[in-house]
């Protein structure tokens, strides 16, 4: 019959309509079940078995962000040690796809570079939130921030973040990324334990108690080994003869090149 398809479709919409309004009529609409309240704002996360789609009244209400959510990078300030974790190695600046990170490495009084950034900038306008910097940082010094409310009136210079704006304390990071933080701490502890064990072994081992004479003997041994190695490489001939042979080879090569050139010219 003509029109049955239309009616069927309208049935679907009417079902949706009724479901939505009956849900809103309830004392606590289903979207607030299981939501948290932080500073007077509701943080909502839709469970997978909740039918339909929740409306979130942003900015009064917000979504619950997953731990891996990534927006703009942040620099970690190690509160225990009281220093920046960043060593200005520049890996983040090198892997950054849009090249929005730039770092000035610090120097000491004599002008020698030290492992500490003097300036660290991220151009948030250019940043594409790929999180490569956080993935590749060997010192866990740069991580992705969850703060996405960054609107300002001018893009420059407000959206070019310097070190001060980027730096957050370690606790902030630990709160945002609890699982990852725990894993990193675990790894750090393991590595430190290994290092300590190694040092202990070193301290207890015979190497540390070696006398000055013993050290001299070792040096001599090493020198002998080096000599042997050199001889093995040069086939035992003495350096002068070797030099002469090489000269001869070079001369021959030049001769051949000249011949080739002449042939090519004809």
């Amino acid at each position: 019959m003509f029109g049955t398809g239309l009616l069927k479709g309208l049935g679907v919409t009417i079902k949706h309509l009724i479901q939505t309004y009956t849900d809103d009529m309830q004392e606590v609409p289903s979207r607030y079940r299981g939501s948290q309240e932080v500073n007077g704002r509701r943080i909502i996360r839709q469970p997978i078995d909740q039918e339909g789609l929740l409306t979130i009244q942003y900015p009064e209400e917000k979504r619950l962000l997953p731990e891996r959510f990534r927006f703009i990078p942040m620099l970690i300030w190690d509160t225990e040690k009281g220093e920046d974790r960043c060593t200005a190695c520049g890996i983040c600046a090198k892997v950054c796809p849009p090249q929005c990170i730039w770092i000035v490495r610090d120097t000491d009084e004599k002008g020698k570079p030290v492992t500490r950034p003097a300036e660290f900038y991220i151009d948030a306008v250019v940043c594409m939130s790929c999180s490569f910097c956080a993935e590749f940082c060997p010192f866990d010094a740069i991580k992705m921030n969850h703060d996405y409310e960054l609107a300002v009136y001018d893009r420059y210079p407000q959206l070019v973040y310097d070190m001060e704006e980027l730096t957050v304390p370690l606790e902030y990071y630990a709160a945002l990324w609890p699982t990852q933080y725990a894993q990193e701490e675990e790894r750090r502890r393991r590595e430190e334990a290994e290092k300590a064990a190694k040092e202990q072994a070193k301290a207890a081992g015979p190497k540390a108690q070696r006398s000055p004479q013993g050290r001299e003997a070792l040096k001599q041994k090493a020198a002998e080994r080096a000599k042997q190695r050199q001889q093995a490489q040069t086939g035992g001939e003495d350096p002068e003869a070797r030099k002469a042979r090489l000269e001869e080879l070079k001369r021959k090569a030049a001769e051949r090149a000249r011949q080739r050139k002449e042939q090519g010219g004809e």
């Binding site: 239309l6 069927k8 679907v12 997953p66 891996r68 796809p97 060997p138």
Partner: protein, 617 residues
């Protein structure tokens, strides 16, 4: 003009030379992806032979490489600067491709393949636009992504963009003395910009780019009887611009149409409003850096784009993918397919004039899928989740249970509801049945791929024809429909989404535990692994695939998404080309719209399912 390069003797051994003598001159890139070098004057006979005799009826990819700054060892002594590349497939036999290279010196032309494969139309225009290579015999050879009057051809290696900094990333200025300059500080007419000789900004006028749309009659021949009956009515066909559309519909896209009354006589797509020269950026980047850029191609399906690129690089560099990561990839790709098809159905209804309600119903489940994506990758749309040799991070605890609930309960129910809402609807049928018809042969000749050809009865799906990943382990069908009209193009998407749900259920059932990364170096940082593994001797971010080239493709939701990559053994790809399905499917837009009404053109476009991020690149 340079001398053509002499090629190796013994051409009798090479294939096809018995049928087309002297066509194939040699081979190239034997180790990675073997290609044949073809003599330019024998190209058309060879293509005809391949199409007619050997069944290679589908021109998948046509692009060009500029070898000006090539640093590989294998091309020493070759004079010609450009190589035009063709990749042919057979939709009847399935299987792999035949790659052809035609070497072209600068300022010389190549015969156009449009006569043999009409689908070469847009791709040759793109090569002409970006490389300046002229195709002799092309019916409409003008710029496509850039505007007329654009100075230079940007994909050439010696072309430098404004604010040019360095040929390859990472830029040296960023570290350790931090020399970034703000674009505000640089004037566009500084030393970064070049001008044509004699160019004066005060007197310059943009060249008139108006091209009459195809060969439409103008004015329309009058019917003598009609003339007699109503002598004062004279009709003429006029050219109107449909668009540029609002970005929220399908993207900023314009259709240049010649209409007579309401009837379309000819239609041509005009694009490039979102062009950012993705491929040039890709050649500046390192191999790894391209991964987040692929998200921005078809921004609805970033997971599939990631996969296509990762797959191409893995083939080129010979990287293995662990079992669990393969399953995760399939799960992500099929979730992407479902959300893309639901999106496209919803917005097709939007184009029909059913504003918002069906579209919002259709993308309801998409939110749940995006939540799942966000949880594992950190972003809803720009996922950047795949890496060479795996995926970046393992799934979170509880993710699989939620995905299973989605695949078992919600998605089948949502698809059924969509079916009930739309499929039987008389208005949808009246507007869509019989609209935009094009035969299967025409569609294949026009290089159309994906749901479009399956709605024309061609059971061609790369997941079956040339399986990649672990698709050969799953049980699924390729749905086809016979009518090749807008209604079938809608309905095939629904059927495909159902098949995707089937694959999803199997993958979620079978997924093993274990590692998600391949052998260290390439797969990037994991949360559990430390410094040594991440860098692996700098391997993480300075991957250097061996010299060679590869063309690899996947069945993306919109069609065949291919990546053509050339490596010269350096940390940056020498050539990075995207075979974008939305772009090449637009070949068929004009032929499909002719003879229908203006309102139908919008629907036909909607049924092609384009995303301008991918069309314009």
């Amino acid at each position: 003009m340079s001398e053509p390069t002499a090629v190796a003797e013994g051409t009798e051994q090479l294939p096809f030379n018995d049928a087309v003598p002297g066509a194939v001159l040699g081979t190239w890139a034997e180790e990675t992806d073997k290609a044949y070098l073809v003599a330019p004057d024998k190209l058309i006979p060879l293509l005809t032979h391949l199409r007619d005799e050997l069944g290679y009826d589908y021109l998948s990819n046509l692009t060009c490489v500029d070898y000006l700054t090539y640093q590989g060892k294998k091309r020493k002594g070759v004079q010609e600067r450009f190589e035009v590349v063709y990749h042919l497939y057979s939709t009847r036999k399935g299987g792999g491709h035949i790659a052809l290279h035609v070497r072209v010196p600068e300022n010389e032309t190549v015969p156009s393949a449009v006569g043999v494969y009409p689908g070469a139309n847009l791709q040759e225009r793109e090569v002409y636009d970006l490389y300046g290579i002229r195709f002799e015999g092309h019916p409409n050879l003008r710029r496509i992504l850039l505007w007329e009057g654009f100075h230079g051809h940007p994909m050439r290696k010696d072309w430098k963009e404004a604010y040019y900094e360095q040929d390859t990333k990472p830029f040296k200025s960023r570290h350790p003395r931090g020399g970034y300059q703000f674009h505000e500080d640089k004037l566009p007419w500084g030393k970064n910009t070049t001008y044509p000789p004699g160019w004066d900004p005060d007197t310059w006028q943009e060249p008139v780019a108006y091209v009459p749309v195809s060969m439409a009659p103008h004015p329309v021949v009058q019917d003598p009887e009609e003339e007699e009956r109503r002598p004062h009515v004279h009709t003429e066909s006029i050219v109107i611009n449909l668009g540029p559309h609002h970005p929220s519909t399908h993207g900023v896209f314009r259709m240049l149409t010649r209409v007579e009354g309401e009837t379309i006589l000819a239609l041509e797509p005009e694009m490039g409003y979102l062009h950012r020269n993705h491929e040039k950026i890709g050649e500046r980047n390192t191999w790894l850096m391209n991964m987040p850029f692929t998200d921005r191609l078809d921004y609805l399906n970033s997971m599939s784009n990631n996969w296509a690129y990762a797959l191409a690089v893995e083939k080129l560099a010979g990287i293995q993918v662990p079992e669990r990561a393969e399953y995760i990839r399939v799960i992500m790709a099929e979730l992407t397919r479902i959300l893309n098809h639901m999106w496209s159905i919803g917005f097709l209804l939007n184009d029909l004039g059913a504003l918002q309600t069906p579209a919002l119903y259709a993308i309801e489940e998409r939110e749940m899928i995006l939540d799942l994506f966000e949880e594992v990758s950190g972003s809803r749309m720009m996922c950047n989740y795949f890496r060479f040799g795996g995926v970046v991070r393992d799934l979170t605890p509880g993710w699989l249970e939620r995905a299973r609930y989605l695949a078992q309960e919600r998605l089948p129910r949502a698809l059924d509801e969509l079916d009930r809402l739309i499929s039987e609807n008389e208005i949808v049928k009246a507007r869509c049945r019989g609209v935009g018809y094009l035969s299967a042969e025409d569609l294949i000749a026009l290089s159309v791929s994906g749901p479009m050809i399956r709605a024309a009865g061609v059971a061609y799906d790369i997941r079956k024809a040339e399986p990649y990943g672990i698709y050969d382990r799953f049980e699924f069908d390729i749905p086809t429909l016979p009518n090749s009209d807008v209604y079938d193009r809608y309905y095939i998407r629904l059927l495909e989404a159902r098949e995707a749900v089937r694959i999803l259920q199997q993958a979620l059932r079978d997924i093993p535990g274990g590692e998600v990364h391949g052998p260290p170096a390439y797969a990037s940082a994991t949360l559990e692994e430390g410094f040594g593994t991440i860098l692996g001797g700098k391997g993480g971010y300075t991957l250097r695939p061996p010299e060679g080239e590869i063309y690899s493709r996947i069945e993306a939701p919109k069609g065949e998404l291919g990546f053509y990559l050339v490596s010269d053994g350096k940390p940056n790809p020498y050539r990075y080309h995207v075979r974008a399905p939305s772009y090449i499917n637009l070949n068929a837009l004009g032929p499909m719209c002719v003879g229908y009404k203006v309102a139908d053109a919008i629907v036909v476009l909607g049924a092609i399912d384009i995303v301008l991020g991918e069309v314009d690149r």
